[in-house]
């Protein structure tokens, strides 16, 4: 039998349907792969018993003819999704040992559709980061290696999810994207990542980072897989007041392969000064492929792009400073308390010990920009600029169907690089943040390799709730790019 971990989600789905193998076999193969690649540290918590149990139940369900859309497919769950009875940490020390008494809506949807959970994937602490180097549970190592053989970051914050999929340790994984946390690691690990429209997937049960930006999405091997998985994750949820009351389309049906006559926007402001030649070329190649497929390429302007990062690094920390106030050592998670301590002492010690450096920095920046005297200059100003960015996209989408841009300004970098200066790290999100601020769907897919032989991604940004167009164009681009390279770090 061929290695079952090489399958795509769609292939595995079809193979299971045909009876070529069982979910238990598929799951066992992935558990074995997880063991073999433990050095990548992609998972914080592996749940092999639960996986086998779910796989068995799934096989039984299938035997009764009750297979769901994700029936029997083993996946990784970013450890930001609360999973009932399974430790959920958000990669933070402060949540170590926390076992939710509830299942997030997205994981509930996936499991109801038959998906099997292999474990909880590593991430940047509280999803704050672009390199997966801020996890309390250790760095994740990118399965790809550069020419010098150094360990590379997988991107972040969904770095464990991306590495798990790239290294065949899961057929697919859930991710969450606040400023690029699905798309950027997808690009760094050579996989597909889709951040849906804000409101498409319920946020209920996902540890909140920045509530107005957070959105769950699929991280997969192919565009088709992303379409399949999104169909199972998405849907209106009355428990989330920002969840869109919209029907979930058949995303897979959108993959017609035909984009003739579609208008693809190229935002000139994304061609930033100092853009590496290979990124420029990647983008130009993408444009050429879409044009060849019959699309019309149109220049568009998103004049406030330059301000997106600054806006993001005010809005997201502000919301986070408030969202993370509940981690106070009182009702769950870690508590640090010494004899004679006051309540304030307990708060301050628990939070100092429980949160890592980057999280502390963001909480404090967020506290500062909301504080008396600074609210208008920082937070409120950022919200106004956010509207300008939102309007830029609305204007652009008056004349195009989707926008094509690079996902990230570079390929994966070495672990340790970009540390020490928080701002330098923030620049990794420069191309992903604008769509996040505007709440738009964004799909990253690998279309080429860097000079170092590392994957590079392009992203397609769509109109609100038009994931279908993004997937359709993405499917065409995927075929044209024919990205078949495999992670170089898995040999031996």
């Amino acid at each position: 039998m061929t290695d079952l971990t090489n399958l795509t989600l769609a292939e595995a789905r079809d193979g299971l349907a045909k009876g070529d193998y069982t979910s238990v076999e598929l799951t066992e193969a992935h558990l074995k792969s997880m063991e073999a690649h433990r050095n990548l540290n992609a998972y914080i918590t592996e749940t092999p018993e639960k996986a086998i149990e779910m796989a068995k139940a799934s096989d039984a369900k299938r035997a009764k003819g009750e297979a769901g859309k994700m029936e029997g497919l083993p996946i990784a769950i970013k450890d930001l999704f609360c999973t009932e009875g399974v430790q959920t940490t958000a990669a933070s020390h402060i949540l170590e040992g926390f076992k939710p008494e509830y299942e997030s809506t997205v994981t509930r949807n996936l499991f109801d559709n038959g998906a099997v959970m292999l474990g909880k994937a590593n991430l940047d602490e509280f999803a704050m980061g672009s390199s997966n180097t801020s996890s309390y549970y250790g760095n994740v190592i990118n399965p790809w290696k550069g020419k010098d053989g150094k360990d590379l970051v997988p991107g972040g914050s969904s770095g464990g999810s991306a590495a798990a999929v790239a290294a065949n340790m899961a057929l697919a994984a859930t991710g969450t994207d606040t400023g690029g946390s699905i798309r950027q690691p997808a690009s760094y690990c050579g996989i597909v990542g889709l951040k849906p429209t804000y409101g498409r997937c319920s946020r209920w049960g996902i540890v909140a980072f920045a509530s107005s930006l957070d959105q769950a999405g699929p991280m997969t091997k192919t565009v088709r897989d992303a379409a399949i998985m999104l169909g199972s994750m998405a849907g209106h949820d009355a428990k989330d007041s920002t969840s869109a009351p919209m029907a979930v389309p058949d995303f897979e049906a959108a993959l017609t392969g035909d984009i003739r006559g579609m208008k693809i926007g190229i935002p000139k402001e994304y061609r930033v000064d100092g853009m590496p030649e290979e990124i420029s070329k990647l983008w130009d190649d993408g444009v050429a492929m879409l044009r060849y497929a019959g699309a019309e390429v149109v220049d568009v302007s998103l004049p406030h792009t330059k301000y997106a990062l600054g806006t993001y690094y005010i809005v997201a920390p502000a919301e986070a400073s408030s969202n993370l106030a509940r981690y106070d050592g009182l009702r769950y998670g870690q508590r640090v308390m010494d004899e004679g301590d006051s309540l304030d002492d307990m708060y301050m010690k628990s939070r100092a010990a429980g949160f890592g450096k980057e999280v502390q920095r963001r909480i404090m920046i967020g506290t500062y920009v909301l504080s008396a005297g600074y609210y208008d200059a920082y937070y409120n100003k950022a919200l106004k600029v956010r509207r300008r960015i939102y309007e830029d996209f609305a204007n652009a989408f008056g004349s195009v169907d989707t926008i094509l841009a690079p996902t990230a300004p570079s390929a994966a970098f070495a672990i340790g690089e970009n540390e020490g200066d928080p701002v330098k790290m923030y620049l990794n999100d420069v191309f992903t943040v604008p769509a996040s601020l505007a709440g738009l769907p964004g799909l990253s897919l690998p279309t080429g390799l860097s000079s170092e032989g590392l994957p590079l991604g392009l992203q397609l940004i769509g109109k609100p709730f038009d994931e279908e167009t993004v997937l359709r164009v993405g499917g065409v681009l995927e075929s044209a790019a024919n990205f078949t390279a495999k992670p170089s770090g898995l040999e031996g």
Binding site: C82, A208, S212, S241, A325, L370
Partner: protein
Amino acid sequence: MTYVIEGSTGPWEIVVGLEVHCQVISESKLFSGASTKFGNDPNTNVSLVDAAMPGMLPVVNAACVRQAVKTGLGLKAKINKESVFARKNYFYADLPQGYQISQFDKPIVGEGTIILDMPDGSTKAVGIERLHLEQDAGKSMHDQDPKYSHIDLNRSGVALMEIVSMPDIRTPEEAGAYLTKLRAIVRYLGTCDGNMNEGSMRCDANVSVRRPGEPFGTRCEIKNVNSIRFVMQAIEIEAKRQVEVIEGGGEIVQETRLYDQRLGETRSMRSKEMAHDYRYFPDPDLLPLVFDDAFISEIEKELPELPDEKKARFMRENGLSAYDAGVLVAEKEKADYYEVVAKGRDGKLAANWVITNLFGALNKAEVGIADSPVSAENLGKLIDLISDDTISGRIAKDVFEIMIETGGDPEKIVEEKGLKQITDTGAIETAIDEVIAANPDKVEEIRAGKDKMLGWFVGQVMKSTGGKANPGMVNKMLRDKILG
């Protein structure tokens, strides 16, 4: 009515604004489906949302929104068709999220007015600045353990309406009248049960003093006073303290204070608010609360007659004085009771019986109107017995006393005790003749012009008939017989 504090350097005026938290009457909490019931085991009326578990999200309760709008309409206030829930950030043991979801610069209700009914029958308008919706915190209990506090989140997330007055109040009595009236309004509306000692209505008072006519002084906020009487006391005591501080050459620091009713003083709570900065911002888990005119007019249609309108109607239709009408409408139950008694009867007589006799007796017995032993129907019947001359007003008082004791039906009491008025001329004549015969000297005095003595004869006849003779008939017949 002017109220001043006579300081050693001259008179001071007090300026008071009240912030009242009213617990909204609803089945479930403002942002979760847990029950609002009081007195259950700790942490049982708590959902994962109320406990602020990671990833939990708020969903607004429609009924709480309606209650807030209804209250706003009752306060004749501007209803804001778009309002925003904002987070008020601070750490406290009974605040699980680390923030309270409240409303800040865009409350659901804007400016309105409350008309105070003062004890002397006068009225005064006090402005309402705003009403906003917010969630309650949980409860910290400090007396269970010497080293630890216990936290119960049953109240966490229960809907509150915070109603903020303008600084229009100038005397402790006005503060009392304001709270009495506000409580009456929310109870009429059914939006809050107004129970201050159970905490469903809580009051913070902002107090400052100034020389009459001068700009406002620095204010102090007295937190969480739990009865109307204590609010009045606290204001007086705090104002006096401020005068003393200023006259002693000191300065008032804006701060939060606590009223200690046992010691009769206010105390600084400064320790608690060290470095507060609430960092309000729109709650990104919620969207702006928007409704249209149709929604408002639908609620408008459900509005009951409110105290002010009822008072005006009692004055207009029943001829009551402002004072009597004010007393009757102060509680909806009282007004309802009165209306049953007055229906088809003399409104003023009914008011008199309800206010003087019934309320007097209830006060003495420390019983509320809801537990009155005398039903409104029975009190009405009693008035009928007087009106149709079945009994005299004096007998009626005796009957009423029996009714208070036994809760009985006045008709039966009159029947059983044989209290029916004697209207039989023969029987009255016999009694009169006996009294005249026994007092020939007094008859002479009357005939000599001492008219007043006639009253003495009436009394004697009433006495000899056990009070049952019709006093009017006795009077007329005596007059005829003696002065004939």
